[in-house]
Amino acid sequence: MTYNSMKNNRFLIILIAGGLLSACATTPAPSIYKGGQASKPAPTVDENAPVVRALSAPGFKETPLQAKPLPAKPLSSYAPSALAPSTPMTPGVDYAQSATSAAGAQANTQISTQANIQANAGVAAASNQINSAKSMTTAKLDSGVGQVNQATASANKAAGTLALPAASLSGSPAARQLASSADAAMARGDLTASAASLERALRIEPNNAGLWSRLAEVRLRQGDTVQAEQLALKANGLAGGDAALRSRNDQIVAQARGR
């Protein structure tokens, strides 16, 4: 180590100290979180600092600072178990943000529905012609890349007037439970969730005509008349001798075709 480089290093180190001093002198002291003080309010971002959108990456929820301050005291001890590695701690899991909802997808949904109600003198009831273009839900990625969502958007309001007989609930307990949660989702207007439940049920019972008929209804309500018709035909192919279900499917086909 030469004298010169030592001098150089010393100078730099002095500069560091100077810089730190000047930094401390010109900026207000940050509020500092003292671990373990339960009464300590959530630390705030320095108001004098430029506006900062702190820590928001995808999947990276900004830490709710009021949540669970770290205990300052050592934690209670953890007992090793002889047989299996035990896990003494299970942190509370935040379920808040994980539920899938159609809301996000529907936020920027363009619905093009054209509902014509034609009174038909020969038929007692007016049938709804939901003549809806298969509407495409467009969701945008953060990067600005458009992404076509295959889920068809809903023609909810028009379909609200549909009067179809309820499809019978048959099959295994699993299929019945999924079908009834699909019914519940449909009743509250969440057609995406309803369809998802029905697809799940169909994976369990691919030949359950009642499930196919329900899915046809969901698509009809969403304004996807092409799929509504095809699914109702599929349901009919599996309905066997269930006359009530066949008639229901026929009604779906008729409405989908706008007759």
Binding site: V45, A54, P80, M89, P91, N149, K234, L238
Partner: protein
């Protein structure tokens, strides 16, 4: 003298002011960098790809061994005590599985104890902890891959509140005890370091706080220079000015580098836990936490897989610190220290194991998302892959190909194979194999190898015919006789059966079941080659633009996925469902970006499709795939063999109610394999289907079908007393009307051997390999 003193003072003051100003300006510059970095996404998050989640419900065909394999893939541990999350216990026929909390694209599953009971390879009971029956539950999906950015940093985001407190405390105890007291830099350690450094003139002393380490990792190179140190100090202070201790700590937990696997860098404790222990961080025991904390010092040097002794030593040092800090009971320290490292053998159960399937997924995703979105936005991609089906097909191919090579005296490793398994009703692809080596990620034969399909085209020929019920029924007698076809511009063509034998009149369904060539050509020409080509395309296959008669014997090229699509339409009763590998794509916050929903389109009427399926069931029962029927009679499988010229390609396609599989065996150099569809692809199909849980094809016919007892030798109505009579399905109105007066006519040897006890059919004789399949040769 005084003058000199003031000059010096002024000079010093000026120097100081200039210096402070320069530093201040520089600090402002760094501050901008710090804030820019934190203003957007902290990290580029690779898209994660998930397999299907296993649904559990009463009646599910599932053996205990299959369940255990699934649990092991997911990193569940067997225990003898009461299970906690991520553990299971076997107690005779009853199992207890403590399922983890799981997020699915269409909802979530709570963490809960499930009690399961098995009976005869089926789930016969499912209850929760209080023995309340559970209708349906699902396990979490296996991660099967990621799309990395160029930097190839991989991580599983971990929130501070989800981090085990013990981990945080141990980390701070080892790395930065005064973390919650200092302002980003610890003046005492800095001072001490400075003194030492000024003395030695070198920067050897560390004393880095967590904040400094984060600043270093985020913004700076890893070289040890004074300028870098200076930047690090300033940036650490600035980090602390703008962000809370928790935010910095959380960033640190996710940023820290904890391992490497090839070009994939393992960042953060969340991923490290999966990477080393195969389970979520919440399930780690204190000794495992200690190992991860110890690795912060040098993840490569203390790599527990490569340097287990060093890692163990380091872990025990950390355990000592933890005990000293009151995080562990001192008297239990030795117990913890005595435990083995407990890292898993393989880095990850699912990652990189399914290249062929992931190729398909990525092909689809790249059509819809740009590279950058895939590798940075933390998308969650839920796919249809069934790891169990995938494992079975890999196993079968790896076991069968060497046997086939040996029996046919082919060079070792000369055979190649491709396979696709789907759920035909939903169109979901459960497994895909593109090479006999399932880890090979190059040429994917399932997707890209177009080969002649041979007799797999015959169902399309006969469907075209059976769609004309006035003209053709299953009992229509087709002449198996010599024929010559005049073609404009080509020499006349005389197709042959392999054995050059002619059988006279053969009922249509037997012609398909035994894959006879001449009847197929005859029927195909009758309905026209163009019509057959149209049917192939209608079903989802690929037909040549200008079809020639040779197409009727399979001179048309298709990739296994295309054959799958075609067969799927038949399996689903004429409804075509586009094949899907992806169910949904969610963004990092769990909001849906895309759902790939089930769609169907009726491309053929259910009745003629049912008739073709019946004939394909006869193929398995008594025809060219009779070996399969003997092996698995209960599934009522439908199938078709395919063999091409000189036996270059061996195909089999078949389906039950909920599984469809297409297998191709051949050689990349297109040399003969000496294998027919029945001897090459069929054994692989049989092994896989035998191992997969599934449901038999329903026996019920769709509406519009009637059953009529038919005398096969005449194609007329008969009573059950007639020895050559069978019950055959007909489209209503197309069944024969006239009675045969059977009994006077001597039964033809070829016809329906099953109707005459003791008779040996030509096709289902004692030979393991069906003779008629042998005939199934293409004449070009």
């Amino acid at each position: 003298m005084r003058h000199f003193f003031f000059t010096v003072l002024k000079l010093g003051l000026a120097l100081f002011v200039v210096g402070a100003l320069a530093i201040g300006l520089y600090a402002t510059h760094l501050d901008r960098i710090v804030q820019e970095r934190f203003s957007g996404s902290l990290w580029a998050l690779p898209a994660k790809v998930y397999a299907r989640a296993l649904e559990l419900y009463v009646g599910l065909p599932l053996s205990p061994a299959q369940l255990e394999r699934e649990l092991r893939r997911l990193g569940y541990r067997s225990t003898e005590g009461a299970p906690r999350a991520g553990e299971y216990r076997k107690a005779g026929a009853e199992w207890e599985v403590y399922a983890r909390h799981a997020e699915h694209f269409d909802g979530e599953e709570p963490e809960r104890l499930l009690r399961l009971r098995f009976e005869a390879e089926r789930l016969s009971g499912l209850w929760d902890a209080e023995r309340v029956p559970v209708a349906v539950a699902r396990l979490e999906p296996l991660v099967i891959g990621s799309f990395y950015p160029d930097k190839q940093e991989d991580r599983v985001m971990l929130r501070l509140q989800d981090t085990p407190p013990l981990l945080v405390h141990a980390l701070l105890a080892v790395e930065d005890r005064a973390y919650f007291e200092h302002h980003g830099v610890n003046p005492w350690t800095i001072m001490r370091a400075m003194l030492v450094n000024i003395g030695s003139g070198e920067l050897t002393q560390g004393g880095s706080t967590i904040t400094q380490q984060l600043a270093k990792n985020f913004f700076l190179s890893h070289e040890r220079t004074l300028v870098r140190k200076l930047n690090e100090l300033i940036m650490a202070v600035e980090l602390e000015l703008h962000y809370s201790k928790e935010q910095i700590l959380e960033a640190y937990l996710n940023e820290v580098w904890l391992g490497q696997e090839g070009s994939r860098a393992i960042h953060g404790f969340g991923l490290a836990s999966e990477f080393y222990f195969g389970r979520p961080i919440a399930e780690l025991a204190p000794d495992q936490i200690a190992l991860l904390v110890g690795m912060v010092k040098g993840a490569s040097y203390y790599n527990p897989r490569r340097n287990p002794e060093r890692a163990l030593e380091r872990r025990n040092v950390v355990l000592g610190v933890m005990a000293q800090q009151g995080l562990l009971k001192p008297e239990q320290l030795d117990l913890w220290r005595a435990r083995p490292l407990g890292v898993t053998e393989n880095a990850n159960a699912g990652q990189g194991l399914y290249p062929a399937f992931l190729q398909l997924v990525s092909q689809q995703l790249r059509r819809e998302y740009d590279e950058n979105s895939l590798s940075t936005l933390g998308l969650k991609i839920y796919t249809t892959l069934d790891p169990e089906a995938q494992m079975q097909v890999e196993k079968a191919v790896q076991e069968q190909l060497p046997v086939l090579e040996k029996s046919r005296k082919l060079p070792v490793d000369s055979l190649q194979a491709a396979a696709v398994i789907t759920e035909p009703v939903s169109g979901e692809i459960l497994a895909m194999l593109g090479d006999r080596n399932p880890r090979f990620s190059g040429f994917n034969r399932a997707l890209d190898a177009r080969r002649p399909i041979g007799s797999l085209v015959k169902p399309a020929i006969y469907l075209t015919a059976l769609e004309r019920p006035a003209q053709f029924t299953l009992s229509s007698l087709i002449a198996d006789e010599p024929m010559t076809i005049e073609q404009a511009g080509s020499p006349p063509w005389s197709p042959q059966n392999y054995d050059h034998r002619f059988r006279g009149d053969v009922p249509l369904y037997k012609a398909l079941a035994n894959s006879l060539n001449l009847p197929a050509v005859r029927v195909g020409l009758d309905v026209s080659v163009q019509e057959v080509a149209a049917t192939v395309e209608r079903l989802g296959g690929r037909a040549p633009e200008k079809p020639t008669p040779s197409m009727l014997l399979g001179a048309l090229d298709m990739a296994p996925v295309e054959v799958t699509q075609m067969m799927q339409t038949l399996a689903a009763g004429g409804f075509r469902t586009p094949m899907r590998a992806i169910r949904a794509v969610l963004d990092a916050d769990g909001q849906p970006l895309a759902r790939y929903v089930l769609t169907v389109r009726q491309d053929a009427q259910p009745q003629p499709v049912f008739l073709v399926t019946y004939a394909m069931q006869a193929t398995v029962r008594e025809g060219t795939a009779a070996a399969l029927g003997r092996a698995l009679p209960a599934l009522r499988l439908a199938g078709k063999t395919g063999t091409t010229n000189d036996m270059r390609d061996s195909w089999f396609a078949g389906f039950s109610a909920d599984r469809l599989m297409v297998v191709w065996v051949g050689r990349d150099d297109n040399q003969p394999t000496k294998l027919t569809g029945g001897s090459g692809a069929l054994p692989i199909f049989t092994q896989v289907i035998r191992a997969l849980p599934q449901q038999p094809r329903p026996a019920e016919a769709p509406q519009g079908i009637e059953w009529v007892t038919t005398d096969l030798s005449t194609g007329r109505r008969a009573t059950a007393a007639c020895p050559a009579a069978v019950d055959l399905p007909y489209i209503e109105g197309s069944a024969p009307v006239e009675w045969s007066g059977c009994g006077e006519v001597a039964p033809n040897d070829f016809l329906d051997p099953s109707a005459r006890p003791g008779a040996q059919g030509v096709d289902s004789g004692s030979n393991e390999e069906s003779l008629v399949d042998w005939l199934n040769k293409i004449i070009p």
